[in-house]
Every structure is written in C-alpha cells, then in structure tokens.
Symmetry: C2
Subunit: 412 residues, 2 copies
C-alpha cells in the first residue's frame, strides 16, 4: 500500500483515518515538515475493541524482548503560510500516541507533539486552540543533527554525491562518519560541525538561502511558487544576466588567476549596463542566475568552514535543494573548485526532513517508551530499530517531498 | 589651484589643456579609473619654447641628485559604459610623457599608456583609433597590490577603521604592514593575500559584488545610478524585506546559538510570504536590504579567508564602498562578528583607485625614467618620492571619487 494513498484516503474521508503512532513537526520560516509513523495492516479501530497498539505489537524473531511494529515512516510538508492545511491534515489522523487514542478521548490530558523550528513558538496557541495539542519544543540545531545522524547511520543509500549529472550513492561506515559539516539550507542557512550524537556546534551560517532565492525570485519574475521558479531555472541561461569574466576581458580567460572566460565575475552584473527593465529579461534566465549565485555562495562558505575545521565531508540538507540537479551540481562544483578536490559535497535523500526526523527521535527522552528508536539504534547497532525494506517514490524529479520509508519499529 | 578646477578648465576649453606628465588607467566592468600627475605652475608650453619638463625639474634641496617635480596626483573616474567620455577627457590633455609632448607630435612613435583591468583588452582598438594611444597592459592583480602597497606605505591617513559611526585613522608601521588581506570590491570581488611588494596570491573571491548590488538594484527599483541607489539605502529599513530571526521565532532571540531576534535569518525572505509585487515595497527598503546582504556576505567570506591564512588585517578597496558609512559599518560588523573581535576591517581613502595607482606605479619598469616613483619609495624610504602636503576634498559624503593629492615627484 502506497502511503500517499493512505494520506489521500485520510484527506478524502475523515472516517477512514490513518492511525498515527508517533508524529513530530519542524515548522520553519517557509515550510512545515511532518514525520510520522503508521503501522501496516492496522485494523484495531475497526471493531477490534480493546486491542491497543501496545497489545498489537508482535514479538520480533531473534531479537529478544523487543516487540516490533511493522509500518512506515511518512514524510510530508506544507507551506508555513498555509499552516491551516497542516492542522487540517493532522486533524484527520487518529493519534495513538503512547498507546492510546488520545485524540478521541478529549477528557484525558492533552496530547503533546514534538516540534522544532521557530514555528513551534509562533503557532503554539493555534495548535492548542484548533487541535488541543501542546507543541513540546525541541531545539532546532539539536533536531537537525539528531535527524541527520539517524538518517546517515540507519538508512541505506541515504547519502549520495552529484556532479556532472552523475549521481552516486555513498555507503558511509558509521565509524568513519564523524566529524562532518552539516549545511542545512532552509530560508536561511546553518552550518554545523558534527562530531557525534549530541556533539556539535553551529559554526557559521548565511542569510543568503532558500528564502532569498524565492523572495528575490518572486519579486523579479511572475512565478507563483518555489517549485515553479526552480523548474524555470532548468531552461534558463545565466549569461543573459550575469557579467562573465569574458565580458570584462573581451572574451578571454583571465588564466593567470585560473578564471575561465565563462566564470561569473559578477552575478547580475550585466543588468548594470543593459538598458533593460526586469520584464525585458526572460524569467528563466533570472531564475538560473539567482540559483547559481546562491548555490555557489553557499558552496563556497561551506567549504571555507569545512577547511577551517579539517572536515572532508559536507552534507547538504534542507528544502532548498529539492534534489534539483542543477542546484546539487552547483554546490558540488563550488566545493570541488574551492577545495581543489579536497572536500566532497554530499546530499541526503531526506534532505528536507532532518529537523522533523530529529524531533521524532527526541521523544525517547520524554516517555514515549514504545518508540525508543534512538536509544535502540545507539545501543544495539546490530539490532537497528528501523529495518528498512524499500523507499517509495522516485529519487529524481521527486520534488514534492512527500514519501515514506517502510520500516519496523522495535518498542522497548 | 584646485585640480578639479584644472579639469573643468580643460573640459571647457581644449586650448587651455592640462599638462599631464604621467597617466594610467584601470578599466573595470563598471568603472574606468584614471590616475595622472600634473605639475604645478607649469607654463612651459605657453611660449617658453624648448623648456622641456625634464629641464623644468628643480633640484631638490637636501636630496642629492634627485630632481623634483611639484604637482598633484589626480584621481578621476568614468562609467565604463560611457568610455567615450573618458576618451574625450584624455583628448583635452597635453600628454608630456617621457618628457616630450607626444600627443602634439603625431609623426613620432605612438604614445603608450599603462592600463589594467579587463577594459584594457576590450578597448585596445578604440584607444588606438580615437587617440592614437597604445594601451600597455598590466596584470590586474599586480596593479591592485602595487597600488594598495604604495598608498598604505606612503600616504598619511590612508587607512581607517569605521564602526558605529566612528571613523579612526590608523597609521601602520611599514614593518608591520604585511601580511594582510586585500579585498577589492568592484563589479565582482577579489581577495588577495599580500605578503610584500610583488608577493601575493589571489586566494578567493565572490561574484556577489558591486555589480550585483547595482544590477539587482536596477531591476528592483527605478534607480538611475549606483549613487542614487546608495543614497536611497540611507533611508531604508531592511526589516520590511528581510526575514529576521524574530519573524521565525515569534519575536524571540535564538539565544542558544547567539542570534538576536533582529539578526537577518533570510535576506529577502519576507518577500516569500508577503503577497506583494516589487512595486509594493519601498525602493529604499530594497536598497538597504541588498546593501546589507552583499556587504555582510563579503565581510563573512573575507573573514574566513583572513582566518585561513592567519591575517589580522583586512583592507577593503574598490568602488563599491564609496566611503558609504552603512557599507563600511556592515563590513566591519561582519568581520568583527565572525572573528569575535580577532580581525579588523580597514578602509582606504583611495579605495577605488588601487588598480589605477598600481598601473601608474608600474611604469618604472618600462622606461619612464622621470617618474621612478616606486623604486625611490622602495629603496629610499626616508626620501619618499611623494611628499604629501594635503588631501583635497572632504572625506565624508565625497562619493564622486574625483580628487587629488598634492605631492612632489622626484625624478631619477
């Protein structure tokens, strides 16, 4: 069963709700991201009275004393400006947190959901009023790191390199994972040196991020959405807008300092002297130039920070990338160019859900004993709590970010 | 006599031309910069037949064997897109290079002028056709560094710091000048590690520079000039356009990682969710946001490069700055913030003329023996070739970049 079908059913018929055993949110400046677990073949609400999720747990074979829930980790996003859609979506679910269907039991104590990102503060009252849900706030950086570590340690083929249209999955030995630089590109950009679970420092960042791409893009083109702007950039040519080295040097390279004639000397520099208005440029050319400017800049600052701390691997996450080939290629080329091949840019399949995943993992500290995923992962690396069978949804061209991982959760 | 009066006279009446003993150009992507030397009280062409500049040289008192020319170093700029204005300006001058008025003697071998920047390549034919002048090309980085070194070594009060509306001149001991990071912000940005005269390496750069400010600014506002856009930014408030940390965190600081609520989380990020067109924003707010985004980014990348090579001083040059208080303050704050006070941002009074000054200095290698300025400076530091008396033109608010230094040139 495709989890997206579940979501569709859930949306179309509230009586046929999805049972969600665990759900966490990351509400950023642009996007609200959800990670939630649904159990397979879960019919206990359809007449199987009294059969709690706790009781529905199966004993795992060969893994003594760990009951297991087979199901899926689901990933879904909403625009933060349309937070009501997100609230409506959660409303259709049957939240079975801590083993009981608390949402259907309004008399009991309020449900608490793990939430991170600034929106966890901004929308506290809205979630309380509309859903009776308390947002239990987790630190954003803690969650980003926990989410990235979890995905990199547990999910096969989570990390890949991308350069010159070549994608290559990288299996990283857990013993060699740390230290690395995590670059999370949301509305703004955070750069975090990660040395282990819970061991990290936010060492840098830049305000030129996804919000700049979409904000400037919206002002400069007639685009209606981030994805439309991204799509446009596929067809554009930045040479129409940027001033290249060759434009300054009469078509020649500036070879003495290693700049080819096609290198960008000045982003949007051509617009200085062209006697043109915004509308005289093709929106696709503007989109392309913007994307290249921002990706290149992030790649450069990331490399400089990796260099500073002797980090050879840079993992890029956040919803700016959206598996967009040109974005990944630009980031990779920038890291490769500035590091002279010393550092490697890598990407994460669940790039946009690091914070939400981390918030999801954080619940073991707060009493959701059924889902002691993080502890299990950490303490029994041979008995991974998530036994992943397959990943749904194509990797390329999959821009909507909603997908699921089939998995089993061992509950303590 | 104010040299700008000379220029005005020269422009208004070609028969009353300025006698220029040495002139060099730096033709960049946006601006063409000129540095030239004029002698005071120079009447030799007005009937004093046969009195060549060579003969007019005075013997300097107490400086054996060095004849001296008293006069002025003049600085002037033109938009590269209006290169014809620059050519017309040079046309009005009487070039007395190498001791003879070659321009008035069309039968002799063609005049060669030192020139740097990409425009030296692009406009070779134009200068030849219109003025009969050969542009003798010098490497751009060589010139930037030679110009910066010369100004820092020779001109009193050339360098200053600027922070929180406080300007402070810095007199740097020549023995402590090196190494430093030179950041030249033109259309694009070059970052050069300078270890001494002729000892340097271009270590980094960014395409997000002055051309980006003016190019994007032109597309986003109705501004007609770079200076108008800069003026606008004085009155603007970037909060209308940028997404601040407080916007994401419900007005709160993100104190755990040291970000105040007023820190910019995402440049132009507010434009994502506002349901507004470009014209709905005040142009001054857009100008302010652009300027802050670009200055902050340059400050950050500069600092990271200074850190990488253990450089404590960063000198910012190039015509982007234009002594604009907010630009200088943003660059200084960025360097101070990221370096935690370890590195210092400094500015140069002749910021826009580093390349032209360097081209001017480079002529000693090519036979203009009368003006062996650089060699004299280097070899006899107690007998500076430029004895500067005063600098014309106010420092603050002086944006047009045309001014002069009164000086004496000792000729070998």
């Amino acid at each position: 069963m495709d989890p997206r079908e579940i979501q569709t059913e859930a949306n179309s018929d509230p009586n046929q709700s999805t049972h969600v055993y665990h759900l966490a949110l990351d509400i950023g400046g642009s996007l609200a991201k959800l990670v939630y677990f649904t159990k397979d073949d879960d019919h206990f609400v359809d007449g199987e009275e009294g059969k709690s999720p706790r009781k529905a747990l199966e004993k795992s074979k060969g893994r003594r004393n760990y009951p297991v829930l087979h199901g899926r980790l689901n990933f879904k996003k909403f625009e933060t400006s349309k937070i009501n859609d997100c609230i409506e979506f959660i409303k259709t679910m049957k939240l079975c947190l801590g083993g009981s269907q608390q949402q259907e039991n309004p008399g009991s104590q309020p449900i608490a959901l793990k939430a991170t990102g600034g929106g966890a503060y901004v929308y506290t009252d809205l979630f309380k009023d509309r859903l009776g849900i308390i947002l239990d706030k987790e630190d954003e950086m803690d969650c980003l790191v926990a989410g990235a570590n979890f995905l990199l340690e547990v999910v096969p083929q989570e990390a890949f390199t991308y350069m010159g249209d070549q994608k290559q999955f990288v299996q990283i030995d857990q013993n060699e994972l740390y230290p690395y630089l995590l670059v999370n590109i949301g509305s703004g950009v955070s750069m975090i040196k990660v040395e282990g679970d819970g061991k990290f420092e936010r060492v840098s960042g830049t305000s030129i991020g996804g919000g700049t791409f979409w904000g400037l893009g919206k002002l400069l083109t007639k685009c209606k959405s981030f994805d439309e702007l991204l799509e446009l950039s596929y067809r554009g040519n930045n040479r129409a807008v940027d001033m290249l080295v060759g434009d300054i040097y009469g078509g020649m390279d500036y070879s003495k300092i290693g700049l080819s004639s096609t290198a960008i000397a000045s982003s949007f520099g051509r617009a200085m002297s062209d006697n043109k208005d915004c509308k005289d440029y093709k929106p696709e050319d503007i989109a392309r130039s913007l994307l290249r400017m921002i990706s290149n800049n992030i790649g450069q600052i990331s490399y400089l920070n990796a260099l500073r701390f002797g980090l050879k691997r840079i993992f890029f996450g956040g919803f700016f990338i959206r598996r967009h080939p040109f974005t990944m290629d630009t980031l990779s080329v920038a890291v490769n160019f500035w590091s002279k091949g010393e550092a490697k840019a890598m990407f994460l399949r669940h790039e946009g859900f690091l914070g939400a995943m981390g918030a999801f993992m954080s619940s073991d500290k707060h009493g959701l004993k059924e889902l002691l995923v993080n502890q299990v992962v950490q303490r029994t690396p041979n008995k991974l709590s998530f036994a992943l069978d397959k990943i749904h949804g194509p990797l390329d061209g999959e821009l909507n970010g909603d997908e699921s991982i089939e998995c089993s959760v061992y509950a303590a």
